[in-house]
């Protein structure tokens, strides 16, 4: 099928992009890497949009360390995140995640901001953002705003971003000296969206566990986290099973997803022990 766009404008700056969105009568749609949006347009799941192309805004791209914080610009492409030495040192979970996202050619254009704003419940980066305790940065007509990842993801493809806002960056605390970050997922084929995925972060403050592809949005498994802090994997597995409500679809049944979630937690904890022993 062929895409239908209501119109196109190339943003010259973040301010210009915000003006374009404000002037679009609610029809505006940010175009970043296009790896989800153009696919949806080609399938006519999305049509008549007034496209605000931000892909040339180099000020929204790149990885920097500011004090104890790693900041990644929204337009940093998956392949750049995957190859970035600062990301590898300070947020190895993201480096790992990239190797699970789609295929090389898609990683060459897809952006981290696009993945977060798109909020596919099966996507890796949103769950990483939760596990790492990240902050999402946005700009809108009223100025800049910081949104904790825990408040950002609301539902399937739905976030706390307003229609007239642009996601500008994500920031997260740099990993502690002996912090461990582990990503586990099961997909049918390399590059497919996960049937279930799990992130496990262990830092001084305790364990953080997030899951993706187990419901309408990525979740923090707080019950499992508390049990892991107490050193009790069996209780963590029970808690995890109780705090997710995965869907059945053509890819996997709810029961299979629930089972996989437990398997992934056990695997991640085994790796944790291996790493820290």
């Amino acid at each position: 099928m062929k895409a239908s766009a209501g119109g196109y404008a190339r943003a010259e700056s973040v301010g210009h992009a915000l003006d374009l969105l404000a002037g679009s009568d609610g029809q505006g749609r940010v175009l970043a890497g296009g790896q989800s949006l153009i696919a949806a347009m080609n399938m006519r799941l999305s049509f008549g949009d007034l496209l605000v192309d931000i892909s040339k805004l180099s000020e929204l791209s790149g990885v920097v360390v500011e004090g104890d914080t790693l900041r990644i610009g929204a337009l940093t492409r998956h392949a750049q995140v995957g190859a970035d030495p600062l990301a590898k040192t300070h947020a190895p979970l993201l480096t790992d995640a990239v190797s699970h996202i789609a295929h090389a050619a898609i990683r060459n254009r897809g952006t981290i901001g696009g993945a977060l704003a798109h909020a596919d419940p099966a996507a890796e980066f949103p769950a990483c953002a939760l596990a790492l305790g990240s902050t999402i940065h946005a700009e809108g007509p009223g100025g800049a705003r910081d949104i904790p990842a825990e408040d950002f993801f609301e539902d399937v493809f739905t976030t706390a971003l307003n229609e007239d806002e642009i996601l500008t960056a994500i920031s997260l605390p740099v990993a502690e000296e002996d912090e461990v970050q582990i990503l586990e997922e099961v997909a049918r084929r390399s590059g497919d969206y996960a049937l279930v995925g799990l992130c496990l972060v262990k830092r001084t403050a305790g364990h953080r566990v997030s899951l993706f592809s187990v419901g309408p949005k990525p979740i923090l498994a707080v019950g499992a986290m508390a049990a892991l802090d107490a050193g009790d994997l069996d209780t963590a597995l029970d808690a995890l099973s109780a705090e997710i409500d995965p869907p059945s679809d053509t890819q996997a049944s709810a029961a299979y997803r629930r089972h996989l979630a437990g398997v992934l937690l056990s695997r991640a904890v085994a790796r944790l022990k291996g790493d820290t022993a």
Binding site: M1, A3, A9, L20, S24, G34, M43, A104, I106, N108
Partner: protein, 166 residues
């Protein structure tokens, strides 16, 4: 204010080394632009949602999905398709290996497969078969069963590494 948006967009780019100026519909993707406007029918539009890889082309040095990039976004870009890569002999060893190893039958997937494979080979390391398979995991082939394609790419990787040492 919606007049700030255009339904036809002016772009100026290079395709296979030649400058191109065009006015493109806002929603047109690169593959339709290359095929319908420029007559470059090597890259194929198949699934048009990023799954099959038949549309893989090189844009600013990266292998990308031509169906997931708008022609309007190509302003200032350097685009290479299989036609240009063939004419410049940039990948003739890889093309010869595909023929020698029976790595194509109908040839539908081949232009995309070659662009994707060349991206891996151009990194200069000697990739394992698993790495080759992984790099090409986003390119479907309905004919060959992939094994011959892996053979061809592996033989070129070894050939180029051997030459580098000599």
């Amino acid at each position: 204010m919606t007049e700030m948006f255009r339904d036809k967009v002016d772009v100026s780019l290079t395709v296979n080394g030649e400058p191109v100026e065009a006015r493109v519909p806002a929603g047109q993707h690169m593959i339709d632009f290359l095929r319908l406007e420029l007559g470059l029918t090597g890259a194929h539009a198949s699934c048009e949602h990023g799954v099959c890889g038949a549309c893989t082309i090189r844009v600013d040095g990266d292998a990308v999905r031509g169906c997931l990039m708008l022609a309007a976004q190509a302003d200032g870009a350097e685009v290479w398709t299989i036609e240009g890569l063939t004419d410049t002999n940039a990948i003739s060893d890889l093309q010869d290996a595909f023929v020698a190893r029976n790595a194509l039958q109908c040839g539908y997937c081949t232009p995309g497969m070659l662009v994707a494979a060349e991206e891996l080979l151009s990194k200069g390391d000697l990739p394992s078969r698993a790495e080759i398979r992984e790099h090409l995991s986003g390119n479907y082939c309905r004919c060959t069963g992939y094994e011959a394609i892996i053979d061809a790419v592996e033989s070129v990787a070894q050939g180029r590494a051997g030459k580098g040492k000599a």
